[in-house]
Symmetry: D2
Subunit: 258 residues, 4 copies
Amino acid sequence: MGGTILLTSRCPEFKTPEGVRKAAQNLAANHVDGLVVIGGDGSFRGALELSRETDTLIVGVPATIDNDVYGTDETVGFDTAVNTAVAEIDKIRDTAVSHERVFVVEVMGRRRGFLALAVGLTVGAEVILVPEAPLNMEEVYKTIRENAAKGKRSGIIVAAEGVGDTRKIARQIEENTGAEVRLSIVGYAQRGGSPTARSRLLASLFAEEAIRLITQGVGNRVVALQKGTITNISLQESCKNQKQLDTRLLELAKTLAT
Amino acid sequence: MGGTILLTSRCPEFKTPEGVRKAAQNLAANHVDGLVVIGGDGSFRGALELSRETDTLIVGVPATIDNDVYGTDETVGFDTAVNTAVAEIDKIRDTAVSHERVFVVEVMGRRRGFLALAVGLTVGAEVILVPEAPLNMEEVYKTIRENAAKGKRSGIIVAAEGVGDTRKIARQIEENTGAEVRLSIVGYAQRGGSPTARSRLLASLFAEEAIRLITQGVGNRVVALQKGTITNISLQESCKNQKQLDTRLLELAKTLAT
Amino acid sequence: MGGTILLTSRCPEFKTPEGVRKAAQNLAANHVDGLVVIGGDGSFRGALELSRETDTLIVGVPATIDNDVYGTDETVGFDTAVNTAVAEIDKIRDTAVSHERVFVVEVMGRRRGFLALAVGLTVGAEVILVPEAPLNMEEVYKTIRENAAKGKRSGIIVAAEGVGDTRKIARQIEENTGAEVRLSIVGYAQRGGSPTARSRLLASLFAEEAIRLITQGVGNRVVALQKGTITNISLQESCKNQKQLDTRLLELAKTLAT
Amino acid sequence: MGGTILLTSRCPEFKTPEGVRKAAQNLAANHVDGLVVIGGDGSFRGALELSRETDTLIVGVPATIDNDVYGTDETVGFDTAVNTAVAEIDKIRDTAVSHERVFVVEVMGRRRGFLALAVGLTVGAEVILVPEAPLNMEEVYKTIRENAAKGKRSGIIVAAEGVGDTRKIARQIEENTGAEVRLSIVGYAQRGGSPTARSRLLASLFAEEAIRLITQGVGNRVVALQKGTITNISLQESCKNQKQLDTRLLELAKTLAT
C-alpha cells in the first residue's frame, strides 16, 4: 500500500509555523526519541521544518514512486511503479501493434520525469516526454512520420503527466501525422499493488540503516542508496538540492527504439 | 493479443455492397469452403452481409471484451478483460483507502455495461454506472454522502465509458459531496495481455465447435456458451437481437457494497 | 487466502461422535441460528454429522481448489488455482521449448483430476494424467515418441498428484523415450494468492444464496452453480454422491495438443 | 524466454578441443567480426576457450538467474527470477499462516546461494540455507522451536537446491521440532516468464555496451554492472575468479525475520 507519513501527511495545519510547533510539542510531551519520516520531497521539507523545533532525532526514508529525492539513486516504491506501468504498456502494445495505432501513455510525474524515463527505456518507447526537456512537438511528428515511412505504424509515446495536457498532445499528433492516436493514462494503480522484490528489499535495508542511525543518536539524516551501497546524507542537503535526470539516457532511448 | 478478423477488420470498403461482393468473389476464386469469423457484434453483421453473397460456410466465434453478442453467455476475452480491470482496481483501492478518496474508474464499454457490471460486482464497487440504466447523479451523491456519514470516506465508482464524460462526472461528485474524487481510466490494457485460463479454454471449445460445424457442412451459425454448455445459434438471430443486461445484478451489487 | 472452516477445521476431536456432540452443544449454548460451512467434501461430511445433533440451520458453501463437490459445477477457488497453475506452466513452457525438454508438471489433486484436467486443457498439454483414468505409461511413451518423430521435442505433461510418484514417472519417461525430462511441482501456491474475478464473484453469489436460505429458515443445503445459475441442493445428497469427471474432455485435450 | 547462447549451447562437442577449433573455423569461414556470448559462468568459460583459437572479437553479456558471474553486481534475469520466487512464496505464505505450517521452499541454485539469499531477505524468511554456508540443522531446529515458543507456528525456510535433499531436510525438521512441515519446489518457472523492468533495462544497457566494445575493436571482455554503473572487465578475469556471497546479509535476514 502507498504508505502515508506519520503525523505530517495530509495535514494542512502542519504547513504553518504553528502547526510545526504543535507537532514538536507533541513529540516532547510523548518523549519521542526518534522519528522516521517515510516519504518524498515534500515530507522531507516538513521534516526539516520540524527538526528546527525539536530535539527528537529525525531520519528520512525516501519512499515515493517519483524517485525525486536528492542524494539517493532510488526510492522505495519506484521499482514497483515502473513495473506496474511496464506491465500495462505490454498489454497496450498488443492493441497498438494489431491495430497499427500510436499510443500516448501518460505515467505519473507532475514535476519530474524519472518514472517516465525508466518506463520508456524499458518498453522501448518510440518517444519519451519528460518535464525536464522542452516539449518539441515537431520532433515528435518527425519520429512518427519516419517510423510510418519505414512501415512501422504502431508506436508508444511515454509522457510524464507534467509535460502538459496529454489529451491535446495525442490530438495534435493525430492531426499532424495522419496516425491513429489513442491516449492511455496509467494512473493511480502505479501507487498501489504488491511491491516488487527490489522495493521490499530496499525498504528493509533503508529501515535497518534508519534504526542504526537513531540508536546511535544520529538525526537529521536521510538514508540513501548510492552506487549500490546503503548510506545516509544530511536532511538539509537532501532538501536544498534537486536531483538531476540523466539526459544521456534519453539519447539511449532513441537508439533502443530504432 | 486482441485478434483481428480475417478479411473484414478495419476495411472501410467492406462496409459498402461493392466491398462485400468483392470479398465474396475472393472467397469463390480461392475455393474457400469455410470461413470462421472471430469478433463481436460488428464483425457478425459484416459476416451476415457476406453470407448473402457467397456459398462459403460462415461460422462466427464470439470474441470481444464487451460480451455483447446475443445468444452466448460469454465471449472469448471477456474474463481476461474483467480480471485486468479488477487487478488495476485492487491497486487503486490501496490509494483510495490510505488517502480517503473516491475513485471514478472508467472501464471499456461504449454502448454496453457487461464489463462494468462484472468488474463492479467483483471489486464490491460502491456505485456501478452502465449505459443501460439512466444516469442518476442525485443517487450517486446520496450513496457517497451516506457512506461518508458512516465513516467510509473512500469508494470505487465503476463507470462504463458509454455513460458520459467521466471527467465531468468525477468533478460533479466532488462538488456535490465534498469528497476528494479522482478519475482513473483503465483503457486499452483491457484488450491485451495474456489470456486467463477461462478465456483460453472457451476459445478452444468454441474453435472445436466451429470446426465441427464447418466439417459437417453447416454454415450461418454462431458458436455459443449457454448455461455452461457449448452450442450454436443462427447467425441471423444473433445479429437481429440485443443481449440483455441482468439488472438484478445491479441490485446485488448494492447489497455487496454495504 | 485459503479459508478454514469455522469450528470444524483441523480439529481431530471433531472426527469423534463426542466431538460432534460437543460442537452441537456449543451451538445451542450460544443460540446460533445458522451456520455457514465453507469448504469441500470433508467439511460437508462433518457438517452432515453435526446436522444430526443440532437444530442450527446449516448451509454449505463449496470452496475448494479441488472442485470435487457433488452438485455444483464449480467451487470457489477453483478458477484461481487453475490460473495460478497455468501462469506457472506458461513460464515453464519457455524453458521446455528453448531447451527441448519434456516437463512433468504435478498439480494438486490427491483423489480427483478436475484441476489437472482444466489446467492441461488450458495449456494444451501433450498428456494429462488424472486419478480417474488408469495410468497407461506405454501410451505416454508413445505420445512423446510420436511428437519427437514429428520434430516436437518439448512437451508438457500435467499430472494430478494422485496418479502416483511423479518423480518416478518422469524418470520412466526419460528412460523409455530418450527425451530429456524434468519434474516441476506447482505446489501450495495453488491454494493462495489474490483470487480471480470469477472466484470472487462466485463467492459473492454463493454468500447471497446461503444468507437467503438461512433467513428463510432453510437448512441442510449446499449452495451450488448449475448450468450458469445459482441454486442449492441437499447437504445429504452432496455428501452421498461423487462428482464425475467429464472424460470427453480428455479426448478433446488430445485434439487440442496435436 | 531463457536464452540460449549462439553456437555454444547444449553442444557437447564444444567441450572438446576439436569442437572449439571447429567453432573457430566456422567463425573465420563466415568472416564473423564480433561474437556476443550471452550466458553465465559456463558459457564464458567456453567463450574463453574459443577466444584462444580465433581473431573474432568476443564480448560476454552476463545473463543467468544464478547471478554468479564474477565482476558484475547483477546479471540479466536475476531480478526476474527473484520476483517470480517471491510472488510464489507470497501465495505459499497464505497457507503457511492459515494452517500454521512451516514451508521449506527450494529455489534454484545448485552451487550458489545468490538467488536464495535475495529471495529469503525479500520475503522475510525465518531461515535461509545457501551452499556457501555449512548446513547446521541444529540451528534450524532451534529457530523453529523458539518461534513456536513465541506463538509463531508458521514459517518460511528458503533453501537453494544446492544445500542438499530438501525433502529430507523438511522431514528432519518435522521430526525434530514437532512442526507440521511441507516442501515446495519453485522450479523452472524461475527461468521463464515476462522479464521485470530491471532485467529488461539491464539487458538494453549491457547490449549497448557490448556493441560499443565490438565497434571499437575491443574483445575478450565481459560487460558488467558495478556500483550502479555499466562497465566491462576482462573475460579471463571473470572466468578465473569466483563471486563472493555477501554473508553480512545472512545476518540482516535474521534481524528482519524476528
